[in-house]
């Protein structure tokens, strides 16, 4: 009920097409400054730039889409599933002239949005367990879900991810999962640069970049901001010695299983990201270029733009006089790097972000390759890129508002572009026909099954075995850990038991078959159908696939079933005539009315038609 009122309020606000952003306290006056943003005006500005470019190229503008096409498209792009037949009919029959705008706002403030955009960010941030013991990703996943629910500005989100530290399983501190994702610090840095600035500099880790300007020394200077940051799963040496060592030794020589439970349970309490950057780094032992020596001290420096403030406590000369394993005292230089990386003045951060979101919504790259941008690159339509960068800055990195601008544009609401291998002419004037993401296909099956496909998307933090045990362990002494290891649930059961207790704590989460894909994951079994459809295994950034393969097609042909009591089947049983049944199938599955030419199919059994529609390209492609 409450969330309904929220969107109504926003919707109303929207009718006058202004949105008030809660402004940050002005540094000069300390007063709150409200920023008025005109969504429609921004959308129109985009359309005008595109119209001008089309004119210049001598290309005709694309026609607008009807309500059926719009409804299907906005559900897919805003909340990651097709509309149910009820939602579709409700929208089409609505007479309100502002209904498109109202639907956009309703969806952007719905639970479906939280589910769909969690999937998106979780792929970019590669939410996944690491190693067999290094990191369990449940808390990280919950942090991202929380950030999407509260619509945390993206620059803040990125800053927190880059500079996170502290315990991995402390509820609310799941942001540390991003650093824990990599076991090697230099890999993590290369991935951070690719994630947030869309640039590929990993080559420079080991040698000067073959085709771009980055040298190995540039890479090490950037790495200097983060030096000494590391994931540690065991207690710090002083805690180990003082608290745990004695019992650990006894258990190790007495019972292997008890010793394992002792080690693993203590890790849940202590695993953490330590270190926050010293601002110094040393060149590698095999450094081979003439501009430096192996182990030479490097002072932190940025790749471009303004150097952020770093509060050094030691001089470079002093450090150089120390043995080569010294890197200087920790001074939170990592946070300085986060500030540089996410600043509106950074020429890559905002550009990479709008490039990414445009790609998610329109299917084309606004500027260039998501993970392979260059500093100079502005794309085929530089003034459009510039405008979108500006919109993002004015919106203070509120991605929901930014999406709202895109969705309100005529460009978005125009006929889809059929983009073949060699595009000719201007291609940024509309969304591209493309295969839907794996999670969207699977979640669209839900829209056929139930009136309420988003019902079981979480509205609050959910516990898993690790966060649950972390909380328990806060007051546990070494003696308690011994007791837990010796008399507790035992090696085979202890993780399972904590998971079970956590599940109980979460209350009723509904039946698995009615979950959105975003609810599956570490604590529950993986949603294997979405994996079959090409969901990213999150090994690398943007790892999802959209191609067919035989196991996927065999499943769609021979394995997928729509239950008898599914929404679409209930609707069918209420329909009087064959024609009515067919209309229901077309609306429910393809989101449109059948064409005249398709009436020849009407003579077939509804079950056969339903199978064919679900297996059709039109079902799994956005258009």
């Amino acid at each position: 009920m409450r969330f309904l009122m929220t969107w109504m309020a926003v919707g109303l606000c929207f009718c006058v097409s202004f949105v008030l952003l809660a402004g940050e306290p002005s540094r000069a006056t300390g007063k709150n400054v409200a920023v008025a943003v005109d969504i429609s005006a921004s959308a129109q500005a985009i359309d005008q730039l595109i119209a001008a470019e089309l004119k210049k190229q001598g290309q005709a503008p694309r026609g607008q889409i009807n309500d059926y096409t719009f409804c299907r498209r906005i559900y897919l792009d805003a909340i990651g599933r097709i509309p149910t037949i009820i939602e579709l009919e409700g929208f089409v029959s609505n007479k309100n002239p502002d209904k498109r705008s109202l639907l956009i706002e309703k969806l952007l403030h719905s639970k479906g949005y939280n589910s769909h955009w969690y999937n998106y960010w979780a792929d970019l941030l590669r939410v996944k367990d690491v190693g067999d013991k290094l990191h369990h990703s449940g808390n990280f996943s919950e942090w991202i879900k929380g950030a999407v629910r509260s619509n945390k500005p993206y620059d803040e989100m990125a800053h927190e991810l880059i500079s996170a530290s502290g315990e991995l399983y402390k509820p609310g501190n799941g942001v540390t999962g991003f650093y824990a994702r990599e076991t090697m610090p230099l890999d993590h840095l290369a991935n951070s640069v690719k994630t947030f600035m869309g640039m590929s500099i990993e080559c420079a880790q080991c040698h000067d970049h073959p085709y771009e300007d980055w040298t190995q020394q540039d890479f090490y200077k950037l790495a200097a901001f983060t030096s000494k940051t590391h994931l540690r799963v065991d207690p710090l040496p002083q805690d180990e010695k003082k608290i745990y060592a004695k019992d650990r030794h006894v258990l190790k020589n007495r019972d292997f299983n008890e010793w394992i439970v002792y080690r693993e349970s203590i890790r849940v309490k202590h695993a953490a990201i330590y270190g926050n950057g010293t601002g110094f780094m040393r060149l590698p032992h095999d450094y081979e270029y003439e501009d430096g020596e192996p182990h030479q001290v490097m002072e932190a420096d940025v790749l471009f733009g303004n150097m952020p403030k770093v509060n050094y406590e030691m001089t470079k000369a002093k450090l150089a006089s120390l043995p080569k394993n010294h890197l200087g005292p920790e001074i939170d230089a990592r946070s300085s790097m986060a500030t540089w990386m996410t600043s509106p003045d950074n020429p890559m951060f905002t550009k990479a972000t709008v490039n990414r979101l445009w790609h998610a919504v329109m299917g084309t790259e606004l500027v260039g390759q998501l993970g392979g941008l260059t500093v100079e690159e502005m794309g085929d339509h530089p003034s459009l890129t510039e405008k979108l960068i500006n919109v993002m800055k004015v919106l203070k990195y509120d991605t929901k508002l930014f999406l709202s601008v895109l969705f309100h544009s005529d460009t978005y609401q125009s006929k889809a572009l059929v983009l073949n291998a060699t595009p000719s002419g201007y291609v940024l004037d509309g969304p591209v026909v493309r295969r839907l993401p794996a999670e969207v296909i699977v979640d669209s099956f839900l829209s056929l099954k139930t009136e309420t496909p988003d019902k079981y998307v979480a509205t609050e933090f959910r516990w898993d075995g690790f966060t649950h045990f972390y909380e328990k362990s806060k007051n546990m002494t070494a003696k308690d850990f011994v007791e837990y290891s010796v008399k507790g649930p035992g090696r085979a059961q202890f993780q399972n038991r904590e998971e079970r207790e956590a599940m109980k704590r979460n209350g009723d989460m509904g039946p698995h078959e009615l979950w959105r894909v975003s609810t599956f994951g570490r604590n529950y079994k993986e949603n294997w159908v979405s994996m079959l459809m090409g969901k990213s295994n999150r090994e690398v950034i943007d790892g999802a696939a959209r191609e067919p393969d035989i196991p996927q097609i065999l499943f769609l042909m021979n394995g997928l079933g729509i239950p008898g009591d599914a929404l679409v089947n209930r609707k069918l049983s209420q329909a009087a005539t064959r024609k009515d049944k067919m209309e229901i199938l077309w609306k429910a599955i393809l989101g449109r009315l059948p064409k005249k030419s398709e009436e020849s199919i009407f003579g077939n059994a509804p079950d056969d038609v339903m199978w064919a529609l679900i297996n059709s390209n039109e079902f799994r492609f956005g258009r």
């Binding site: 993986e526 959209r546 097609i553 394995g559 398709e598 039109e618 492609f621």
Partner: protein
């Protein structure tokens, strides 16, 4: 499960498959046509299996038994293989630089250390990509059992392994849903064709075409006689009886059936070797599975005359320590472990390489895991220095600087 599965002869939409003469395979060195790659995840204890040539205390509770090959002895947990060691080359000097399971498995199967910025293809994917020709009707990389899925890494997903989780269940959903009659199924396909043809007119792209092609290919596959290879119940009794009933034995039978039909690379997984405690209580059952399955496979391939053209290898991510820990288990040991090779002209009935007699280090003729894999590729006629570029343009060589050890072959 990894994200991509397999594809062959279909869905390539314009991308053509090489004919064999155009591949990197060279007829001169191609002695093996197929590889059966048995992977023992967890870390096989070399001192309780095939390396007994060390000081007595290193062997723990294992006893030495003779084999049918002069100078080759094995532990008492492998009585069946002891009768077939004349077909096997034992490599006792294996070495890796990884001591944790995920990284060790990754290294053994891909030749590379795991990096967060790229994923590397498994050896099977290199083989699949380089030895698949238009004449082939079955995928050239099949992964049997649970374990690492057989990933294509930075290659297109079509080069990943076809997964077969349970050898007795075959390929998921390859049969028409029983509730749908043949006639109804054909009718459904007709409706689907008309819908897709219409969509193709207005919204057709190479991606939509690729789906149309892959449906066609999947249907061909469903009807293909070759999928009989996956139906173990169709094997004749004389052969089936060579094998035991365990899942691993049945997996080996499936591997042999695939090799018979020309599949290039079959990976068979047998996990569970990570015995940090009670190794002599827990290991014998697993050792028995390996002993039965592998000896049946060698007999079967031998009977069919396929052992000369099939390289059978057994590998593991690392070995186990020479000393038995206080929990009666053995911990991880990357420096001096044991792998096996058989068939395709390996120097069978011999031991290659040694560890120091205290079992602590690989000693003579050390074989890095990259050398091991380079030698397999070379035996298939693939140049181990073959280079492919990841999406970022970064080049990677198949064997990551591993060198071919020609002396393993006669």
């Amino acid at each position: 499960m990894e994200r991509r599965d397999f594809i062959y002869r279909v869905g390539l939409a314009g991308a053509s498959l090489p004919f064999l003469d155009a591949t990197a395979a060279s007829a001169q060195t191609a002695r093996a046509k197929s590889v059966v790659y048995i992977f023992l995840s967890g870390g096989l204890s070399q001192y309780d299996s095939f390396n007994v040539e060390v000081d007595k205390p290193v062997l723990g509770k294992s006893n030495i038994i003779k084999s049918n090959a002069d100078g080759v002895r094995v532990s008492n947990y492998y009585p069946k293989l002891a009768k077939q060691m004349d077909k096997i080359l034992v490599l006792n000097s294996m070495k890796t630089d990884q001591g944790a399971h995920p990284a060790g498995i990754y290294k053994m199967l891909t030749n590379y250390n795991p990096r967060a910025t790229v994923t590397h293809p498994e050896l099977g994917a290199w083989v699949n990509k380089n030895l698949t020709s238009q004449q082939d009707s079955l995928p050239n990389f099949v992964n049997i059992g649970s374990g690492r899925a057989g990933t294509a890494g930075f290659f297109p997903g079509q080069w990943a392994a076809l997964p077969v989780k349970d050898p007795d269940k075959g390929i998921d959903f390859v049969k028409r849903n029983k509730a749908v009659a043949e006639k109804a199924f054909r009718n459904r396909l007709d409706i689907l064709s008309s819908l897709n043809a219409d969509f193709q007119k207005n919204f057709g792209t190479k991606d939509t075409q690729s789906y149309v092609d892959t449906y066609a290919g999947s249907l061909r596959f469903m009807k293909s006689e070759d999928i009989d290879a996956f139906e173990l119940q169709n094997e004749n009794a004389a052969i089936t009886n060579l094998y035991g009933k365990s899942k691993f034995s049945r997996s080996c039978l499936l591997a042999a059936r695939l090799v018979e039909r020309g599949v290039r690379f079959v990976k068979v997984n047998l996990g569970g070797w990570d015995y940090h405690d009670n190794i002599y209580g827990r290991m014998p059952a697993n050792a028995n599975a390996l002993d039965s399955g592998l000896s049946s496979l060698l007999s079967h391939l031998g009977q069919k005359g396929l052992l000369d053209s099939t390289l059978v290898v057994v590998s593991t991510e690392f070995g186990r320590k020479p000393d038995v820990n206080p929990n009666a288990g053995r911990d991880h040991h990357p420096d001096g472990f044991t792998c096996l090779m058989a068939g395709a002209g390996v120097k069978a009935g011999q031991i290659y390489g040694t560890t120091t007699s205290d079992g602590k280090h690989a000693d003579e003729n050390v074989v890095d895991v990259t050398d091991f894999n380079a030698s397999i590729a070379w035996r298939l006629g693939i140049d181990p220095n073959l280079e492919e570029k990841a999406a970022s343009g970064r080049p990677f060589e198949l064997a990551n600087k591993g060198t071919v050890r020609k002396e393993l072959f006669g």
